[in-house]
Symmetry: C2
DNA sequence: GAGCAGACCGCAAGCGCTTACAGACGCGCA
DNA sequence: TGCGCGTCTGTAAGCGCTTGCGGTCTGCTC
């Protein structure tokens, strides 16, 4: 307090009207001089608003989040919000306490990548409770059947599109790398592959499906060594695809000469692989923006019905796909693929 | 307030002694029943402690942070702290406002990856000011000459070790990929390479040094096409290394047959490349732990002299290095490299 | 010159918690 | 019975801000 009341100071520092220009300047100057920094904690307490959103990640180390988080963060900042981040480390229990913590910090809304996608038993109690209490939150990455606000990436259509690309090149036997049952997202990728195949009167054979397991590499090599084997694989993500390069090479098979590979979830390196990998790419930025939009909408009107959005993925055609050996695709006449994209 | 004063309630909810067991139980039960969630904001205000550390990243999208951040976060949580994260987006001005915001939120300490490593002009004013005000903060990733608390990754020794590995294989002309002058970390990598070479009586020729520029790829190919050319390159990071694979391949040269490649900063995919890349790997976890330790130390005793730690990097020998063509290394008798590691 | 609107400004209450302090109570002892 | 002491509990004053309300002052109108 320099020469005036705290009320006046408060008014100038919050840009409220009703203060003489002269006083305003004087106060600002003093504030500047003494290096005054307003106490947000007190401000928030007083305003009964925290200006905080919570972001709860199932596993923060999954880089897939970085772009997403970056965008959320930027959007939040634009409207003067901070985002608190918490890591569930793939543990439902931690997820639960994270939610509790966020509430203690009076986060005004939550954006969460849940640990589980197929909720069994009590795994979703905490979300149901949130919903019950009208606490604004949006689930991302995993669709839900409980009327939660959510945004997901379209897995089935993407899988179908990738598979159709292979079918279009002339492949007739297509396998799947990295299947898992208890993960909805992955299950959907398998499902999409299956559907596209069955559209073409083909099927995804169980024996052509390699699941996540320690011995996958041996199984895979064994599969590749058979006389009758797939000429292309859909990989569940590009880490799997990348891992597949080596056994294929070790069997003296070539990509895409003998085996074509497509995968999900473009990471920035997949274009640098040799051959560059054909992948889908999640529109993280758009997902983030959608999630934020939903949250804000919910905030301004808690009564709107559940919002469930899905955003598509883009396909990047690169070098890892070509017609199967001994076959010339209807579309192209052999030779080296030149498609490129970033 | 159920049947007692707020003071008593406060005491039980903060696990303070001096409350009859009976009352304690009753209060806990009521709290449970009404789903009471303490207001951290008020608590912090009252305690005059925020229980918050700030983490300011130069560019959050740089995945190199994920492991680091994860660890910081975990450590902070263990002692009941939250960490607020801010993104400077490679912009000093944003860095400045981020610091301001953190102070408004009364963060008790800051961990920052500064935007610039070689501070010029006013780029470090804000840090000097922090130091002046005894505000606890630690700079990471970039060494400083101003007596700031800091922890860095050892670049020069690592570069020397990588280069010595190449020298040990018999390489006599070694180039550098991705040089940059105005970045300390990169400059140190160049410097380390240079030193190791001069130890061996060799030099790093300017013409063998490819800098970050749009035309780097053409320059690189031109260099590779000369009769006299390097037989190995040190790459400034593994994205560069990965990008180098292609032009080398396009010239029908092989890795490591014709050209050996080593690089810095192992990302999880570099082992999946074909051939797998020999790289160094930052001990992110250790860096995080060191940074946190320094911060805590400073917190408990603001007067200790500046702490500057450096943590080493590990070298992962993989497949991208071999003796130069027409040469048999003293250590090994040709053939295929089998070194492997994760 | 009295009355009044409007612009400024300060008082003080209040945000939800903590905690120093003092009161109430039970106990043992002289 | 009276006193001192230790234990438990409530009162109230803050923490640093916002803001409704009422007071003061200026300048205008009639």
């Amino acid at each position: 307090m320099a020469q005036t009341s705290t009320a006046t100071v408060s008014r100038v520092l919050s840009n409220k009207p009703g203060v003489t220009e002269e006083k305003r300047q004087r106060i600002l100057q003093i504030a500047q001089r003494v290096g005054y920094s307003p106490n947000r904690i007190a401000k928030n307490l007083s305003l009964k608003k925290s200006h905080v959103f919570g972001f709860i990640a199932a596993d923060i180390r999954n880089m897939a989040y970085v772009e997403f988080f970056h965008r959320i963060q930027a959007l939040a900042r634009e409207i003067g919000y901070q985002v608190h981040i918490a890591d569930s480390e793939q543990d439902v229990e931690k997820e639960r306490v994270n939610i509790g913590l966020m509430r203690e910090h009076r986060a005004e809304g939550l954006i969460v990548f849940p640990v589980h996608d197929w909720h069994t038993g009590s795994d979703l109690d905490h979300f149901l409770q949130l919903k019950l209490q009208r606490f604004p939150f949006v689930l991302v990455g995993r669709a839900e059947g409980y009327g939660f606000d959510s945004v997901v990436s379209e897995e089935i259509p993407t899988a179908m599109e990738l598979t159709r690309h292979l079918l279009g090149l002339g492949h007739r036997r297509i396998g799947f790398l990295g299947a898992e049952d208890d993960n909805r997202c992955i299950a959907e990728r398998v499902e999409g592959t299956r559907r596209a195949l069955s559209e073409a009167g083909l099927e995804l054979r169980p024996s052509d499906t390699i699941a996540l397991r320690d011995e996958w590499k041996d199984e895979f090599k064994e599969l590749l060594s058979r006389r009758e084997r797939p000429t292309a694989f859909v990989c569940v993500n590009d880490v799997w695809a990348m891992m597949a390069y080596r056994p294929i090479r070790e069997l003296n098979l070539s990509i895409p000469g003998d085996i074509s590979l497509v995968s999900f979830g473009n990471n920035l390196w997949s274009e640098h692989l040799i051959p560059a990998l054909t992948t889908s790419v999640e529109r993280s930025r758009e997902i983030a923006e959608t999630a934020m939009a939903i949250l804000l909408r919910r905030l301004e009107d808690p009564t709107v019905p559940p919002m469930q959005e899905s955003v598509g993925q883009d396909i990047r055609l690169r070098e890892s796909t070509a017609p199967p050996p001994g076959n010339v695709s209807p579309a192209r006449a052999g030779g080296k693929r030149v498609a490129r994209s970033g």
